[in-house]
């Protein structure tokens, strides 16, 4: 108990303090550049590694998940083909029970179609668990990366179909690996189905 412990401790703080400035001199691009942010969130970083939000943003990993959105494929003449078939699995699996779907009806026959007419997610309840996206059989509901969704009134927090829809190209941009995987899966399935149909046709 002669104060050496305290001095050693202070040496550690001084080292931390100096490391930041050394790094500032060594790296011209330490702040406000993508490389700088990348470096500051890597295991090599020394010195301070705060990210100056909102001027700088964290680099989100592809798997990052936030409030889900619904995917539509862009048709040739600009129409939006909603992938969701209103099967209701996501609503069933949702732990917070935030999803509510109304099935579309055929305007002529009145029979239910496999498309949603309305789709709501109560984002005041959503716990961002990702189970809906995990179990959707049609790759139609995807966890988003957009975490800046503050609004002035709670009433805007029940997202409707219009608010939820985002394009497949957006999906591809934020989650390239997952998008490619799922597309490959779908293709393989379609091929298997075609082969089966062909075989059946041959039998007849």
């Amino acid at each position: 108990m002669d104060g050496r412990g305290i001095l050693n401790g202070l040496a550690v703080t001084i080292k931390h303090f100096i490391a930041t400035y050394v790094d500032d001199f060594k790296r011209k691009n330490r702040y406000f550049t993508p490389e700088g942010v990348k470096y500051r969130s890597s295991p090599e970083v020394e010195g301070i590694f705060t990210i100056q939000y909102p001027e700088e943003r964290r680099i989100l990993h592809e798997n990052f998940r936030y409030i889900p959105f619904l995917v539509y494929d862009e048709g040739e003449d600009g129409q939006r083909d909603i992938r969701c078939t209103a099967c209701g699995i996501c609503a069933k699996v949702c732990p917070a029970q935030t999803i509510w779907i109304v099935r579309a009806k055929d305007p002529e026959t009145g029979r239910p179609l496999s498309k949603p007419a309305e789709f709501y997610i109560d984002t005041t309840l959503c716990m961002n668990c990702g189970l809906c996206a995990e179990f959707c059989p049609f790759d139609a509901i995807i966890m988003d990366h957009d975490y800046e969704i503050a609004v002035y009134s709670k009433d805007h927090m029940v997202f409707d179909l219009e608010r939820l829809l985002k394009s497949a190209s957006y999906y591809q941009r934020i989650r390239p690996t997952q998008y490619a995987e799922k597309a490959a899966e779908r293709e393989a399935k379609a091929k298997a189905k075609a082969a089966k149909a062909a075989r059946r046709g041959a039998k007849k």
Binding site: M1, D2, G3, R4, G5, I6, N8, G9, V12, T13, H16, S41, S42, P43, E44, F49, H61, E62, N63, F64, R65, G88, I89, A91, K92, V93, C94, P95, Q97, T98, I99, W100, I101, V102, Y120, D122, M127, N128, C129, G130, L131, E134, F135, M143, K154, V158, T177
Partner: protein
Amino acid sequence: MAQPAVAAPDLTARFPDLVTPDTRKGYSGYIVKPEGLLEFARALRDEYGYDYLSSLTGVDYLPEGQMEVVYHAYKITGGPPLVFKVQVPREDPVVPSVTSIWPGANFQEREAWDLLGIRFEGHPNLKRILLWEGFWGHPLRKDWREPYYEGEHKPFKNRTAGPHFWHEDHTPFGKNVDYPPGFDPYAWDPETADEVLYQSVIQRTRKPRQEELHSEQVVVNLGPQHPSTHGVFRMIATLDGETVVALEPVMGYLHRNHEKIGERNTWIMNIPYTDRLDYITAMSNNFGYVLAVEKLMGLEPPERAQYLRVIMAELTRVMNHLWAIGFLLNDLGAFFTPALYALEERELILDVFEAASGSRMMNNYMRFGGVVRDIPEDAWDMLVKLVTDRLPRKIDELDRFLTHNELVRSRCMGVGVLTPEQAIAFSTAGPVLRASGVPYDVRRAEPYGIYDRFDFDVAVRYHGDVYDRYLIRLDEARQSLRILQQAIRDIPERGAPLLAGKPQYQVRVPAGEAYGRVEGPKGELGFYVVSTGKTNPWRYHVRAPSFINLTALEAMSIGNKVADLVIILGSIDIVLGEVDR
């Protein structure tokens, strides 16, 4: 899990009139008659060596009209549990209290009284614990309905069928509220509820008035809004001068009846909810819960998933201990420099979690029979760098920074001492238990997953004071790094299966009971689940280490100065999300 060679004692032969084996399908252990419980328990502890009562909880078997109290007792030297149960009629359930044999039953019995209405005769302080005095009903009873009641289990029909509504339109003064007969919410006076609390602390310590030296005891509230409590938590301390003579923790401010929610949820829905128990250690919570359910389902995860689970759980431990040390220093008054040094490393670990699971804290990563996805390659590289280079270096740095600091030493040494006997008797677990010289670690005592493959030491320290509880966290973080280094060396190649069977959102869980426990960073985290073969659990109970470790808080604090209460509490390392559930 394989049963060890030493068979459990045959207790039916010893107590033929009192004890019968539990023969229900999927159940195990013994059923003990309530009148013989104390005799049985004493024999268990003194003759058979089951000196550690880990978990005590109740189950409401509504169709059978029975209340059941379930006990899990262990030997502190390791091995499987001895499970026994007491069944009493539902109308007026009275069970003798085992606090005289295992003082660690104290809070757990209070919880069972609070939530299930089981009265424990002979309990020294049978009050509500998570709810407030004056609450009507016992919410975990199967016929008790919450004000937001929407159905017995999810998915709730009225939600998935729409239309959307705001819940507060149905509460609190709307049609959905159910007051006890004759209750007037406007006349209810919470003061009286507080009075009950104070009385119980005062009575315990009232001393005969000393004539020559006039001194008086004062009751001091620390919290619920107090920076030291790391949340909303309250300690009622009786002081004699500056010295603590009695203390009672008051909790439940964050209570949301996690267990009732869990019984409404389907099996899989509970996984993201467990994240929110101890929100610092979501991975361990996931692990404990899936382990319990896998026991019922008879699932064995594939190799790579087993390794990924261990990696995640051990990273969680390192990160939790860094956090705990940082905040202990905050409590000591070293405001935020050490805490932020520790948090820096935690952020990097969280980056790995985020890449693998999608979220930094609410991981929702494990599934029944495996894990949800692999660690992506870039995150794997980061993990390897962290485990082999950065974290060992940074833990050494933290050690250099704090361990020999004279101020830390003089504030922490000899403060808040818990003897080994007390630590066992109060059912404490984790670092609190091991810092008191009891080398008990579930990973060793009853290995789960693949922990039997790793070479590591169970950290132990012998003084049982705040300083040792600090040191043991450094020791454990180092041991975790050892496990991690072995795990990244031995893990099967990428591409190996990660899930036994297909991903399913509606799992079939055979009827029966199971208790899954893991060595969480805070101590033994256990999940007791009962299935009736339906889509949701009949009973879902969490043995929360933070909660049960608080049983020892009074024993640690008595005789210490009031100023040290803050660090004594800090050294237990509680998270209120788990304490209050």
